[in-house]
Every structure is written in structure tokens, then in C-alpha cells.
Symmetry: C2
Subunit: 203 residues, 2 copies
DNA sequence: ACATGGAATGACCACCCGGTCAGTTTCTCG
DNA sequence: CGAGAAACTGACCGGGTGGTCATTCCATGT
């Protein structure tokens, strides 16, 4: 059974994480101080250290929760694709990803700004983004198995897709009124769908 | 005429910039202090401030010089392509880009880690990377004019290409023995060449 | 109403880092 | 060689940040 203590603790952790996300969205990861987070959360700095061991732990947990949310959305989209052809499945997943970042604009600086961070953090981050990558690798492998896609280094291709998606997301974030998520997803899915397709004939 | 004073000044600036690049490569942009740079350059901290106004100026100038070098290489490659078809020209440019980062591994953290930085810096950085992007936009537009490529948002497509290239570069940097630059360039050029090509028939 | 213990607070500390400048070394030229 | 200028040095300073802890507050049970 969950004790009252645990409920309160989770509530506070959540509030602090949310505040951290908003603060980072405003000032960037490196320039966000613990005082900023405390002010944003409406608590004293000391309170934060009742629930987190260090600034690093706040950031780590906050990133972790948000990334897990993103990954879940992407997996749902991938599952919903069933055995659609590669292009369609990719479009679904990318639509979900663009939509997620549209809804969680505050999150992007955390997710994309985490390159500059302490060493062990970067390792953890790498492990998480590996899951992200693996999802696209799986899509590609499935397409290969079915003979839709030509045989190539699935990992490198997935890297290219995630990189392209990342850059498009950064663009979208800075645009006042980005085109609908589905539009950009369609574009990328078209490009990579055709780009990875089995060659019919030699030009 | 260039005075002796100017020669010395340029030499020192260069030495300090080189040291900054090495230091940043080792510790990352945010964690590199002016003391680090001074130690790496083998001079006293005060000396640095004879040649640069602030830490920010060191970083800015250092990034600027390196990016200019990169852009020049890319422009040379683009010019060398003459009126090759899109895929070939893209392959040349990407080969040049991958090779540049192979040769200047120390540079990548500066180039890719500069997201977390003060506001006006980010603007400048944006202007430089706009030039980088423009080069790819131009390649795509040329392909469209010739009827090789289907008509689409050239800017978005260029964003996708630079994003994919960026992510591949990051991968290469962390690999012990990356495949030859030409191999990765070939892969991306193939994917985007086919992906952006005019549609022959509807699947 | 009162006692009690855990939660919340914010002043405080130690440390780090960018930037300065009085003092020292090196260069230059009469 | 000597003296003045220029370059160089590194100890020092002030501001800012992560983290602590004695104190205060408050919810709860008697």
C-alpha cells in the first residue's frame, strides 16, 4: 500500500520536475540554477534537497520522465501502424514525435540541450536515446524483411532519420506557426520511404 | 604593410584559439574555463585578456574561424561538382564535410555544442549555420530547376539533410574506426538522391 | 488546548570562475 | 649597456551557485 508519505513525496517530486522543465525551457539547461527551479516551483531551495540529492538528479529525473513519455507515445504509434508499409508506419511515428514536441515545447531544451553535461549523465542519456534509435531501426528491419526496402546498414539509416527529425523539430520550435505535425512527417516519410526503397531500375 | 606587432598578435590569437579548441574537445564547451585554455596554451590567464576581450570572444572567434574553414571546403566541393547530377554533387559535399570532421575531431564539440550559450551568440551561430544550410538549399534548387528533383520545400529538405549529416558525424566521432568518409557520404547521397527524385510512377 | 515530530524555510558557507592590475620579465633602440 | 616601453604574469577580487542546517511552521493525536 502507498503511504501518505509516499503520495506527498511523489507529488512534490512531480511539482519540482515540472518547475525544472519550465525553468530550463526559459533559460536553457546550463543557465538554470537551483534557485530558479525553487522560485518556479514556489518552494524554498532547501525543500528541493528534501526530494532530490543534487541539481544533477533533478535534471536526470526530469529528463528521464519526459523521455519515457515520448518513447511511449512513439511505441504506441509504431504499434498502431500494425503491418502498414514502411512509409506509412514511419509517417505515423514521426507525426507522433512532432506532435509530442509541439505539445511539450518546454521539453525540447532538456532533450536536445543535454549534450553539455557531466560524463555519467551523458552515458545514461546515450542509453535512452539508444531506445529511441532502436525503434527506428526496428521499423527499417521490418521493411527490409518484407522486401520493401533495399538492404543497407539499418542503424546508419535510422541515425539519418532521427537526425533529420531532430533538426526539423528544432526548426518547428523556433517557428511562430509551424505547419501541422502531419505535414512535416509526411515530407520526411516520403523522402525516406523513397530513399530507402528497393531499387527498381538503375538510372 | 603588416607590422611586427600585428604578426605577433595574430600568432598569439591563433595559439590561444587552438588551445581553446583542444580544451573544449576534452571538457566540453560549458565546462571549459579560461584557466583551462590558458594552461593548454601555456600562457598566463592575464595574457589571454591582452588578445581577447572576454571568454565569449575567445569562443566566438574560435568557432568562427573553424566554421569559415568548413564552409570554404564545402563550397570548393560544391563548385568542383560543376553540373553533376544532384546525387553526385551531394555526395561530394557530404564527403568533404565528413572528411573535415574526421580531420578536425577537436572541433566538433565547439560546432555542435554551441546550443547552450548566451543569447546574442546563438544568433550569430544561427547566421553562420544559415550559410551552411544555404549551400544545401542551393544544391536542391539546382536539381529542381533541372527537373531531376520533384518540387518540394527546398529549405525543409535541406534541413533534413543537414540534420542527418550532423547525426552521422556525431556517430563517426564516437566510433573507433569510422568507415571512410566517402562511404557514409555515399549512403546519405543515395538515400536523399532517391528520396527527393521526381516520381516516375505511383506505387 | 497542548505536545510532538516531521516538513519547510532561507540565511549562510565554501567553492568556482571570469576578469583585473600591480609587479616582473623581455624587447628595443639610442 | 642602460633605460624606457611593451609584453607577460599570477595573486587577487567580486559575483554567483550548489548545497547545508539551525530555526520555524504546522499537521496530527491526545
Amino acid at each position: 500500500m502507498t503511504t501518505k508519505r509516499q503520495v506527498v513525496e511523489e507529488f512534490r517530486c512531480r511539482a519540482i520536475s515540472d518547475a525544472a522543465m519550465r525553468a530550463v525551457a526559459r533559460k536553457g539547461l546550463a543557465r538554470t540554477t537551483v534557485d530558479d527551479i525553487a522560485r518556479e516551483a514556489g518552494v524554498a531551495k532547501g525543500t528541493i534537497y528534501l526530494y532530490f540529492r543534487s541539481r544533477g538528479e533533478i535534471i536526470e529525473k526530469t529528463i528521464g520522465a519526459a523521455v519515457d513519455g515520448l518513447l511511449e507515445r512513439l511505441r504506441l504509434a509504431a504499434d498502431a501502424a500494425g503491418d502498414e508499409p514502411f512509409g506509412g508506419a514511419l509517417e505515423r511515428v514521426l507525426t507522433a514525435q512532432f506532435a509530442y514536441f509541439d505539445e511539450h515545447r518546454v521539453f525540447f531544451r532538456l532533450y536536445f540541450g543535454s549534450g553539455e553535461y557531466s560524463e555519467d549523465r551523458r552515458l545514461r542519456q546515450t542509453r535512452r536515446s539508444r531506445l529511441h534509435l532502436a525503434l527506428f531501426v526496428e521499423l527499417i528491419r521490418r521493411g527490409c524483411r518484407r522486401g520493401e526496402l533495399r538492404s543497407l546498414d539499418a542503424e546508419r539509416a535510422a541515425v539519418a532519420i532521427t537526425g533529420a527529425a531532430r533538426e526539423v523539430i528544432l526548426r518547428r520550435i523556433h517557428e511562430k506557426e509551424p505547419v501541422p505535425p502531419a505535414a512535416d512527417a509526411r515530407l520526411l516519410a516520403d523522402v525516406f520511404g523513397a530513399g530507402l526503397a528497393r531499387r527498381e531500375k538503375k538510372g
